[in-house]
Amino acid sequence: MNRWYPEALKEFKIVTVFDLLLEYIQEGKIQLDKSVHSMAVAYHDPCNYGRKSLKAFGQAYFEEGRAVTRACCDDVRELNPNRNSAYCCGAGGGAWAMPFSEERVFYGRIKARQISESGAHLVVAPCHNCRDQIMKSLNKEYDLNIEVKYIWELVADSLIMPNKQ
């Protein structure tokens, strides 16, 4: 949109899932219950929100996802190397939809090892591709025995619902 519709950027704001979730949390619009997710939680950096966003837009979402995750859970762990040096889940760039599934699983071996070394029981993925790869593929292929949630799923499951009449 930057490239093709620069004038549209002046008319409205484009937000990512992080911007909106953080806005709700920081402005106190939603209340969260940390006791729902008391297990060890690992945060996965999606390439497109981190490294690639930094290069394409000059801004990376590294800390925002962690802030949201920490607002929902106490025991948040890192998958090192992380942030700008994070390893891809293996399903990016459309690979989740492509026919090269053996290569995709092979690709994910590093992410799988990181997850198992972190000792996390829940992995938070802010991206559709990453979540599908980690939950539906790596979890089975590498016997990780973990739960995987979208970051907004984590928030939705932690919500303390307001009393509305």
């Binding site: 990016g92 690979a95 492509m98 559709h128």
Partner: protein, 307 residues
């Protein structure tokens, strides 16, 4: 390795006169240079060649010497040199995509699928430098690559490897794009979303899910569709209404709890742009343009992307 000799010794060895050896040296037939103590130095390999030429066994064979027979066999197994012939890649358009590469291979060690199909980012970049466009476009490797940019982050020369990869993808004939990616792009252009979900089905599904959510945890919830003036326009990943519709409720529940003013659009609600993956800028632009139109039509202030 250098071979040190006296003119007189070499003359004796080959049964020629000392002057003959001097003449050979002066004429360049024998590439030797003067060394210390009236001795000369020549490359051992040149000495070997000289022996071969006159059918003699070298009278010294250093321990690290490769016998000329073995060397000959090795030379035969060498691949034919590739002639570049000034072929210029039509893919690597920008010098920063390939030409500025230092061939250090740091990218290859960063890449999780280096070695798959015998390729890695360094080789892809090299192929582009050599103008091997046909091989690049034919290879499936750029499609197994997830364009995660780990290679690019590691690269000391700041080569735009993912831009090159996307260009390679974009250069392939559209009918040969692997998997459903291009079909999704075509579907999206024709029917508004990657999976071809009709408008009525989408609206019905969303209303139905809204009723479930209201009964379940959000009393009074009603799915907002085409609400003019809503603050946030929410785009959707079509796999959710297609295969995992309940997953949409997480966001809806958050909106409900936060008291957000938001809406879906009944048309062109797709938030996933597969043109990004297939390297198809034209289609990508069309799909982005539709979202811009939606924002204007519904007069929303904030656009939420699905991931």
């Amino acid at each position: 390795m250098m071979y040190e000799f006296k003119v007189s010794e070499l003359a004796e060895e080959f049964g020629v006169h000392r002057n003959t050896i001097r003449n050979w040296i002066n004429a360049g037939t024998l590439s030797a240079k003067e060394g210390p103590g009236r001795k000369y130095l020549m490359k051992f390999h040149d000495y070997q060649k000289l022996c071969e030429k006159f059918g003699r066994e070298p009278h010294v064979t250093p321990s690290n010497n490769v016998s000329s027979k073995a060397l000959g066999a090795l030379e035969k197994t060498d691949i034919e040199p590739l002639l570049v012939n000034g072929v210029k890649s039509q893919i690597a358009l920008d010098p920063s995509w390939a030409d500025a590469c230092l061939t250090c291979g740091t990218c290859a060690s960063a890449c999780p699928i280096s070695g798959v199909d015998g390729l890695d980012p360094r080789k892809i970049v090299r192929m582009a430098v050599l103008g091997m466009d046909e091989e690049l476009v034919k290879s499936n490797w750029p499609w197994k690559c997830t364009m995660c940019a780990k290679c690019e982050e590691a690269c000391p020369a700041n080569i735009s490897i993912t831009a090159l990869m996307r260009k390679i993808r974009g250069t392939r004939k559209r009918s040969e794009v692997p998997g459903p990616i291009h079909k999704g792009v075509v579907m999206c252009l024709e029917r508004g979303n990657n999976l071809g979900i009709p408008k009525d089905d989408f609206v019905f599904l969303c209303e139905d899910l809204g009723e479930e959510l209201a009964a379940d945890s959000c009393p009074g919830f009603k799915t907002p569709i085409d609400v003019h003036g809503a603050r946030v326009l929410v785009t959707v990943n079509s796999k959710e209404p297609f295969g995992e519709p309940d997953d949409m409720k997480w966001w809806w529940k958050i909106f409900y709890a936060a008291g957000e003013s938001w809406t879906l659009s009944s048309e062109y609600w797709e938030g996933v742009n597969w043109g990004l993956f297939s390297g198809d800028d034209e289609s990508m632009k069309t799909v982005v343009g539709r979202i811009v139109d939606n924002m204007r039509r519904l007069n929303c202030k904030v656009l939420l992307l699905p991931e």
